[in-house]
Subunit: 224 residues, 2 copies
């Protein structure tokens, strides 16, 4: 799909096509339509991201809250969006064994309780081991930084979904300045602060997840 | 449902319950959850409206663009939200005769072309004659004022939907300061400016719709 085609769309068609670039937030696409014409896919993408960046904090948290848990209720009830179903499937999250499923459920719940939004990660750039490791690690980030990291993941997801629709090269998944986790940038390994009280108190999680920052140097999208 | 119950909800349940207070914009409910606890239904409602008011213009237009046409494609394809289906049905829009259907389609198209968002009206407070008359009248409002009027209708719809969910008294459909059409406030009858060129050029619309400001003094929710 070329930009001439995109720029010719009325708002109804535009929202039909791009309404789930940001998961379950057609409002964002519907707002971005005001900014047409778009010079190219990057310009279009930048308008999506600028809208998110301009929201008040509650709105940014709201965007995250519109995302499903990874391997969570929506997956098991078959109520994921088509995009999310495909992404979680590609990351192997639709075929977890019972132990991994239980660990993910518990970590998701701890994450939601700590931050007030669900754990969001671009599943297509990940696999089941990385998902579990990243979730356990990010659980220890400071809330301000974690919000930033999570919105970066929303943008990676949006970039890949846009690339699918536009037939563009999805290789550029990191913009100038980087979307790398702020928690990774600022906190050296082993310097991530106190372990979350829920974990200290004995959550039934295994060794790896009670020291989630271990191994974060191996993360796929942690590149300098 | 009392406020203690509402305030006890996690964000997942809150978005499940209140996600369509603003049509197809669960982002708004998901953002409002950040503001809990809520003292009463009016406090909850005010947070929804404050979020809308704080959006940039593109975001406010975006909210409008997430609304379906009245008696439009979604109604005929059976893809309306449950709330919208009920509201349009109550206004008699699901049983229009062929002539009214055609008039509404044409006026909706002119409205979308002029303002860049669909005609939004709290259908439950209306009926088929009022819908057609209001649409024809508002087509002549100035864009800035019409945006304000349309957002006022979004708030009326949201108020009624909240009242349904909370079992509150829906009688208060107009807040202090009023949601009355700015176009009605500022423009005396007969002083609504030039007729829209598309109408002048012969759109195939009948007499009433080419002079849409006629009769606006009789509108149900035009009270001083």
């Amino acid at each position: 799909m070329d930009m001439e085609r995109v720029n010719s769309m009325g708002f109804g068609e535009f929202v039909d096509v791009f309404g789930n670039i940001i998961e379950k937030c057609p409002l964002v696409a519907a707002a971005v339509w005001s900014q047409r014409p778009f010079s190219d896919s990057e310009d279009l993408e930048n308008h999506f991201f600028a809208f998110i960046d301009a929201l008040p904090r509650s709105g940014q948290e709201g965007i995250l809250r519109c995302h499903p848990d990874l391997a969570g209720r929506d997956l098991h009830q078959g109520t994921l969006t088509a995009e999310s179903q495909r992404e979680q499937s590609q990351a192997g999250l639709t075929s977890l064994d019972a132990d991994d499923q239980l660990r993910l459920q518990k970590l998701n719940a701890l994450y939601r309780e700590r931050f007030g939004f669900p754990f969001v990660l671009a599943a297509r750039l990940s696999d089941r081991d990385t998902v579990l490791r990243e979730l356990a690690r990010r659980l220890h980030c400071q809330p301000e930084l974690e919000l930033h990291t999570a919105l970066g993941e929303v943008k990676k997801i949006g970039h890949l979904r846009l690339a699918d629709l536009l037939g563009a090269d999805p290789a550029r998944v990191e913009p100038p300045g980087g979307w790398r986790s702020e928690c990774q940038k600022d906190a050296p390994l082993g310097g991530l602060g106190a372990v979350h009280p829920s974990l200290e108190a004995g959550s039934g999680l295994g060794e790896q997840s009670t020291h989630p920052h271990k191994g974060s140097g191996e993360l796929k999208h942690s590149h300098d």
